[in-house]
Symmetry: C2
Subunit: 244 residues, 2 copies
């Protein structure tokens, strides 16, 4: 049997946002590997081994999946959202690069998914309707100065911005620093969206002007969107016009 490795995006939570090609890959898998809450979304069945693992062991998880594929298994690594956006795809390619040479010839495919910022944007209207950027606020893997530098330049460029991993128990202060920077440099009425548990029954969408934004409004399950200078509200919707 020829093994394969699929890195699949489960979307932000709703089953209605899981693409058919991802469902098909899961139906054909012998092994599903991933962070515990994502693997728990996969229904058990005969012939399928589930391999849930803890957070922050992305490289170990990637190597395990590559070993299974090299043995001839049909392994699927699951990510929430899109696996190519602050998720498992880069970790798998890092593991390929540092691993045995034959791993480079494995049948590896990435299946995209609905990433959190796009589901959050859709729930709010169309705040990413013109030029925008996506920034991971976690400094687990990069200096926080680089985060602040990117936010500063993104303001100069007048991008709308999506912030992933804004805040966690182990990193309570960074998002507050980002908010300080934004408040010092952007108009106080700039629209900000806090989108929590997007597309799940626990979804909460809060829209506030920048001056009212507080760090405590974000947690691990929140994606934060900051509008550009042109982003506006019409009725209950937030959108960025196409001329921005």
């Amino acid at each position: 049997m020829t093994g394969s490795l699929v890195i699949a995006g489960l979307g932000p939570g709703a089953e209605g946002m899981v693409t058919p090609e991802v469902s098909e890959a899961l139906d054909g898998a012998t092994d599903v590997i991933g962070y515990i809450p994502y693997v728990s979304r996969i229904p058990p069945r005969h012939g399928l081994r589930l391999h849930p693992s803890d957070n922050r062991v992305e490289l170990d998880r990637a190597r395990h999946a590559l070993e299974l594929a090299a043995k001839g298994n049909r392994a699927v690594v699951v990510s929430s959202g899109d696996p190519g956006v602050f998720a498992m795809a880069s970790a798998v390619f890092e593991a390929v690069e540092s691993g045995p040479a034959p791993w480079r010839d494995l049948d590896i495919r990435v299946l995209p998914g609905i990433t959190a910022m796009l589901a959050a944007a859709a729930a709010a209207g169309a705040p990413l309707g013109h030029d925008f950027c996506a920034i991971n606020l976690s400094d687990n893997l990069k200096p926080f100065d680089l985060v602040l530098r990117r936010v500063h330049l993104a303001l100069e460029a007048d991008f709308a911005m999506a912030f992933y991993n804004p805040r966690s128990a182990s990193r309570p202060h960074q998002f507050a620093s980002v908010l300080d920077l934004l408040k010092a440099r952007a108009e106080s009425g700039r629209l900000m969206i806090f989108a929590r548990a997007v597309s799940t029954p626990l979804q909460e969408i809060h829209v506030v002007p920048l001056r009212e934004a507080r760090a405590e409004m974000a947690d691990m399950r929140t994606v934060v969107i900051l509008g550009s200078s042109a982003t506006r509200q019409v009725g209950r919707f937030v959108y960025t016009p196409r001329r921005a």
Copy 2:
């Protein structure tokens, strides 16, 4: 009957990338409105009226869809990719803002889709695996100087970049200007991906170092991704490490 308006993303082309919630909305629609090639993806059926329209009439199309919803129809506006990324969602909210007051109370929902850059990134590996931005290179609705300014600042921030609408018959020169800027400011070996007709049978993915990129490599159906300074190749894959 209460009308509704859904703005739905069909993804980049493959039926396997159309989300179940979008398929469900289409199954329940009385009217499907959109640009000709996107409406042509919807199979005709009894009770469904198809309203294909030409390019560059986005506001007229949005108003038409809102009128149908206001009359009590179940209208679905289709976009390729994600409707919130350089597509129809912003046009609909612009039409709501300039339209009759009751339009603000209509049942309007945006359903996200797999946008071209994420499908292109998945096909190539994970080039958007760390902080990135998305820039629409068309100057139909904004001054081209603003495009160049954003590209310049995005280089300063060392974002990976996705360029939408890089080049069309009516705008042959802008992408060449962007390439000139990139070649003057970024390393000549920076990786660039030209992804055409992503996820369709005509898909072509070309990876070249920046010094070999030429404007003619892009057309209307191409999304272009420029790596950050950290983006690299392993085997046939291009990816950006998580530490970038």
